[in-house]
Amino acid sequence: MIIDLKKFIATERPFWNELDRMLLLNERDPYRRLPFDEIKRLHYLYQRASSDLSKISTFSAERAINAYLESLVGRAYAMIHAGRQEAVRFSFWCWFWGTFPRTFRRRWRAFALSLAIMVAGSLFGGGAIVWDPHAKAVLMPFEHLQMDPADRVAMEESAERDRMRGAKSSFSAFLMTHNTRVSIFVLALGMTWGIGTVLLLYSNGVMLGAVAADYIRAGQGLFLTGWLLPHGAVEIPSILLAGQAGLLLAGAMIGRRSALPFGARLREVVPDVVTLISGVAVMLIWAGIVEAFFSQYHAPVLPYEVKIAFGVIELALLAAFLRLSGRSEVKPMSWRRIRGWITLGRLKH
């Protein structure tokens, strides 16, 4: 049996147009709440369009109408089966003070692994410099790090003019964006089953350990600490958190001790990965400001003790934030709840 196409289209077209209009309305405003009657009507139209698609596929091979109905049914299916109970608008403060630290604590094992990899790299880098000082050229391939530490410190401390004058803001912006890009790269390499993430964390650790060993051997530990700690107290944990996110992705890729299929494993970790990297971006904004406006000034302009104290306080606050913040879960308030409270308040008065 082949259906009478013209009659079929003439009869069903008004329903398709109505469904298309309803879908368009909701696609334009995903937070719109549908009245109950509209939900019932939407469901009826969806089922009718599904039935029409079934008929056209079975009783007519007309491709254009088939493609149109597939597109319409697909959009309606996405909307009806989205499975979201209540649309809640994003609240940055609830997310930063609640979701972000809770996600960090929930995924602490990946952070511990990230930390262990970087520490291993640092030990290797430091050990390499101690046993073979000529390794400096290989492990620290940056011109400003090739200088003798004592000469570097003398140069910085005797500087007569502010070499950052007129460039602090742009340097700060460069640091923020560069470090965020590196963090995103560390995260993204999690898709290489974590190999790239591990290599980047390890190599960062190697360079850190090599620099530390070089300066401490030269008796410039105080300068090094004062130079790195103010921004490093936030920047290094940021890289570790990016590594944490990358290792989460890697864990989902590998799927060890998980009965879930590949897609489900990734679906489970992706929200946490996005939360972590977003937190990293916020942290790196602060680190970029500190590095450009504070870290580059040395004694006698800015005493090392002040810089070290600043860095220690930062580290302590960060640790407290990640450890303690968000322990009593505060859900972001929905507009419906707020409106309900306002109405209740008005009724009381």
Binding site: M1, I2, D4, L5, K6, K7, I9, R13, E27, Q47, S50, L53, S54, F59, S60, A61, E62, R63, A64, I65, A67, Y68, L69, E70, S71, L72, V73, G74, Y77, A78, M79, H81, A82, F90, G166, A167, K168, S169, S170, S172, A173, F174, M176, T177, R181, I184, F185, L187, A188, M191, T192, G196, L249, L266, R267, V270, P271, V274, I277, S278
Partner: protein, 253 residues
Amino acid sequence: MNTHKRTILTPEGVTFALPLAGPVSRSLAWMIDAACILACFQVGRVLIGLLGIISHDISSAVSIFIFFVLRTGYAMALEWFWQGQTVGKRVLGLRVMDVNGLRLQPSQIVIRNLLRAVDSLPLFYLLGGAVCLISRQSQRLGDLAANTMVIKIGKAFEPDLDLILEKNRYNSLRAYPHLTARLRQQVSPEEAGVALQALMRRDEFQPEARVTLFDEIAGHFKSKVAFPQETLEGVSDEQYVRNVVDVLFKADV
């Protein structure tokens, strides 16, 4: 290898298929988007340049920041507000969708765009394109992580049957309703679709190819139901196919 379509079975038992976009159309869309980002940045730079009157340092900082935000956030923002489309994807009729046909979540949009950092390795999305080629659903690494896919949006149109089957034109086959009923019973929807498509696209064929094609289609239908000779006299193969399609798709005269 990708199967070019993603088939989804709904709980209602209906199947719909979404045509997948390949790496070529996706890369063209991204080139358009890259041009848009550059254009926005150039416009922004002119406006930011005005800040240089206050401070060159601040102007430079804002410029660095804006470029980073544009490069990272352009696709994320547009895919969220335009339901999976960017400017390039709109131009080429593509859309990002959840692999199960559901609505995109913000975390999916963010992660698929963040992973461009790996997909663009070593140069010009070679890695992402290679993964897209071998993936069954034409997914790059970012799509794999986010459980998304990029589909082609079909343009929906109603076939103009009146154009193909001229109104009020005499159809000699309708003089034999019992034979037309048998024809309707024996012809499958696929065969009817082939005939309809051939008529809709007749102007695209070379004349010789058109004659050959309609000869074959007419011969096929004639082998199913034999109409009396007088209905076929003076009727070309193409006109015969037109009469058959009229009978099949327009039940009531």
